[in-house]
Amino acid sequence: MATERWARWGVYALSLVVLAVVWQIAAAGSGLLLASFTETMARLGELISNGELPEALLSSGRIFLTGLVLSILLGLPLGLVFARFPLVTAAVETYVYGLYAIPVITLVPFILAGIGFDFRAKVLVVVLTAIFPILISAMEGARSVPGRLLDVAHSYGSTERQLWADVVIPYTVPYAVTGIKQGIAGALVGTIIAELFLNATGVGDLLIRASTNFDSAGALAVTLVISVIAVSLMGVSGVVERRFAGWREGLSG
């Protein structure tokens, strides 16, 4: 077991080294277009030490977190309500799926015209990219509670309130966690969209400035940081998801 784990980490580290080397060689022949690995790392160090990157991350992080938290706080209860009242679902389901299917970027002009480009407008873009997977997962979860578990609850004289607390909500938790995981990915995209297409702030501003200045090293450094953050967030939410989904295996039987 232990050796297998070391081997995995070893291969992982090796793949990073190979990536860096390939990057370095590819960049050598491309001139201004692609900064080399070492140049990118040097620029990354600069962006961190002069405080530009931390400041940008803080500013983007505020938009990301506010949008994500709002999406969870609105998405989960709305999903449960939709599941509970089939008539409400019938009325709104089409629009929910419709909005989910629309690339949020097409809504940006309307948001720009309607709200402007301040913090609220950016948070709205994040909410629009993050809320639907959360809402839909909660709804699907609450709707798919097996009849036999509802029978048990009724058989023991459960009231409607107890039924929600004891059965519907616990059953929905793993679905909601999966939805939140997708919501995190959506919120990341939403944050970048908001910062690139409303007015440039935070990480989006860094990216735009780097590319207009032909600072390919800076643009790559920022992109690299975004992907590292994205991968870490996915990793963490994957761990949380597995923790909550342990009992799901028992349902297949």
Partner: protein, 277 residues
């Protein structure tokens, strides 16, 4: 062990416990329809205290539906069910059901699954802490309190399901094909364990099964449902005294009753085959 009749499921209003003998469950003229299809009709059945009544019949004869109507999960379209003289209009305290698919909550461990009925009945914490381990022990699950259903075999899951049903100390126990999803060897072990538990504290029990042997082994009487819509075709007094053991399976009376029920049900199967052929 003394049998408590003042458990949380027994008499929440503080009423005097009902007498130990006499009819517990009275089904009269019961009928259920789904749209145009009448599942069963005109069912009259009385289950005495401390009596086990098995119900057998071909698939789709409505034996589970009948059981569910006693539990208040399915509404009758005609007739009535009373428990201790009170008409059943919904789930009734003092009546517990054991489900074919166990019906354990997968996110609760064994302890919390067994405690579920007591918690809903608002039993005090001290009482739950006292009663739950007792029943977990009774069904042979001591040491598995913290296990989750998906970590247990089917047989052990149904032990937990049985403990949950018994923990509310019901006067009527409804068994809906409880062992049909369990492998044959474990099923036999559980049948005798259930009989042993029942013998220490006998209550009224309705036992729905599609196994003729199981029906005869468990039942003091065997009710055979037949026909379309189905009705009670025959009620057989098994006449084998308790305690019943593995030797019961080999007794002449057991063989005789089993063969008789077999004949009653096979007539239908053969007729159905002819219809199809």
């Amino acid at each position: 062990m003394t049998r408590s009749t003042t458990g949380p499921g027994a008499a929440p209003e503080g009423a005097a416990p009902p007498p130990a003998t006499g009819p517990r469950v009275v089904v009269s003229g019961a009928g259920v329809r789904y749209g145009d299809l009448t599942v069963f009709d005109g069912i009259d059945l009385t289950i005495q205290d401390r009596e086990i009544v098995s119900i057998v019949g071909p698939s789709g004869c409505g034996k589970t539906t009948l059981l569910r109507s006693v539990d208040g999960l399915t509404r009758l379209n005609s007739g009535s069910v009373t428990i201790d003289g009170r008409p059943v209009e919904g789930p009734t305290p003092g009546v517990s059901m054991v489900f074919q698919h166990f019906g354990l909550f997968p996110w609760k461990n064994v302890y919390n699954n067994v405690a579920y009925g007591l918690k809903l009945a608002k039993a005090p914490k001290e009482r739950i802490a006292e009663v739950v381990p007792e029943y977990i022990d009774m069904v042979g699950l001591a040491g598995f309190e913290k296990s989750y259903p998906h970590q247990l075999s089917g047989g052990m899951q149904q032990r937990a399901g049985l403990a949950r049903a018994l923990a509310v100390e019901p006067q009527v126990l409804l068994m809906d094909e409880p062992f049909s999803a369990i492998d044959a060897q474990t099923r036999e072990v559980l049948q005798f364990e259930l009989l042993r538990i029942w013998e220490t504290r006998p209550i009224a029990m309705m036992f729905v099964t599609h196994s003729i042997e199981e029906a005869v082994l468990m039942g003091d009487r065997v009710v055979v449902l037949k026909g379309r819509p189905s009705h009670i075709h025959e009620v057989i007094d098994v006449g084998i005294p308790h305690p019943r053991t593995r030797a019961t399976l080999k007794s002449a009376r057991f063989q005789e009753v089993t063969a008789h029920v077999w004949d009653l049900l096979m007539q239908d199967v053969i007729a159905a085959e002819r219809e199809v052929g």
